[in-house]
Assembly symmetry: C2
DNA sequence: GCACTGTAGTCCTCATGAGGACTTGACGTC
DNA sequence: GACGTCAAGTCCTCATGAGGACTACAGTGC
């Protein structure tokens, strides 16, 4: 894999990566100290650090100052791309059901540019509920989210508290607004984590995240809810299953 | 944004990033030489290089040895997540239609582990058509793809040539197999680009890519086609629109 | 028992210095 | 005019050296 003429730091990175892939050190465990690696590979400290930097940006390892460098556990969480509305399926592959929901805040906020651009003019006063999901197995945050709800329906209701809602959020909105969720648009993007996301998701800076923006509309096209979800990009898999009859409009060979 | 006690390389990176965001230098243009930056910021060369390294892993800039460091054009290409089967919509936001199609190869290959795991036993002999999409405006590759087709249907047919197919690929397979595409599973992942992808997509090493694995099945559940598509993660947006009536199975409030 | 302190081990920052590899373009030769 | 050569400018690699910041833990004093 590595050519003989590759730079030292690259060869060291390759060596360590393949060792990790073979289980030494195993996920979660500590790597040898930088000074040990200097001795082992017979190179200088900056070279070792450059090699570790490669693995760090790849998400293979993670360093904590004063403690050590650790092998990251990169098992991926499985998400269903349209599972927001709880279609009844008991798919054991979906790990997200076990996640603990935690409401960070629930208060009126000025919507950011990208969100307010999607809103109808009269609904620009909004309530924002921010949530975080913790994986109870690893005790690590796996998802960050925000729901932007039209103020006219939700101001002064129980949604303005940080309590966990009694039933699915969209059902609450339907009750409060008297309208039905009938259409949705999803937008998926990969981008660098913001400082806030780095903190809340406990990620190394510069990590990529998957960002989903979900817009739900009523029959009259007004926006009932906009929600955002953010996951660490290297810890998530998005699954989608569908019938093609709906997708294939006409087969030319039949015309 | 940057605290006063942030390390030098971080402050330099922040300064350059915000300048770039404000248009200097503009996308595609050259950055000042590293030695110029050394003088401007009054730091050493490794520090400047570390700052540029941050921007490089963020995808903001790109360096070419012997030539210079350039601001990357990070406009994103829009993709529809289920548009593979050409549902007739004339959405001007979709830029992909303008892409130039290029068949790299079309020959029998040993399927990789992840693919053959999805295949039925008798169809493990497959034809692989590899394609690349070029954006004629920028003349840059935007997408890399591979279609894994069951050998029993396609060996010896025109699909074994690198010619562009006369009609949509799935229609060809339907004709040749006598079966219909009725169901599909999509799997989306973000991962580091392989060496091959770095070459073919002309990316800096270590870049993240979005990887879609699409499995299409017939009514009897046999696999008709597996296709993979790979895009640079920071140059793509995935869009999806759908009716919620299909998704929301039952509203408890009505029970 | 508790709180504080010091120390060792760890990763992080940054300077200096040197050589190499790659690209471009000017120049000279044929 | 075509081709090869050379030099300048660029980014890339790597060593050495030093200091700092952070964490965990053992020991001390109360």
């Amino acid at each position: 894999m590595t050519s003989a003429r590759a730079p030292k730091y690259q060869r060291i990175a390759d060596a360590l990566r393949s060792e990790i892939r073979n289980g030494t050190p195993p996920a979660g465990e500590r790597m040898p100290a930088e000074t040990d690696l200097v001795e082992r590979f017979g190179v200088s400290l900056p070279t070792v650090r450059q090699a570790l930097g490669v693995l760090r940006t790849e998400g293979v390892i993670e360093s904590r100052q004063g403690i050590g460098t650790f092998v990251r556990d990169n098992r991926r969480l499985q998400r269903r791309s349209r599972n927001r509305y709880g279609r009844a399926r008991d798919d054991k592959k979906l790990l997200t059901a076990h996640l603990r929901h935690e409401i960070i805040s629930a208060q009126p906020e000025e919507p950011p540019q990208e969100i307010s651009a999607l809103l109808d003019e009269p609904t620009k006063r909004i309530l924002v509920r921010r949530r975080r999901l913790i994986n109870p197995d690893t005790n690590r945050p796996e998802e960050l989210g925000a729901s932007y709800l039209p103020g006219e329906y939700v101001f002064g209701t129980f949604l303005e508290t940080t309590d966990v809602v009694p039933k699915a959020l969209f059902l609450c909105i339907e009750d409060l607004s008297g309208k039905r969720y009938v259409r949705a648009e999803d937008k998926w993007q990969v981008r660098i984590a913001s400082d806030d996301e780095v903190d809340r998701l406990e990620l190394p800076t510069g990590t990529n995240v998957v960002h989903l923006t979900h817009v739900a509309r009523a029959a009259d096209d007004t926006v009932l809810e906009i929600s955002e979800s953010v996951w660490p990009a290297d810890r998530v898999v998005i699954l989608d299953e569908y019938d093609l009859n709906d997708e294939i409009s006409a087969r030319p060979s039949e015309v």
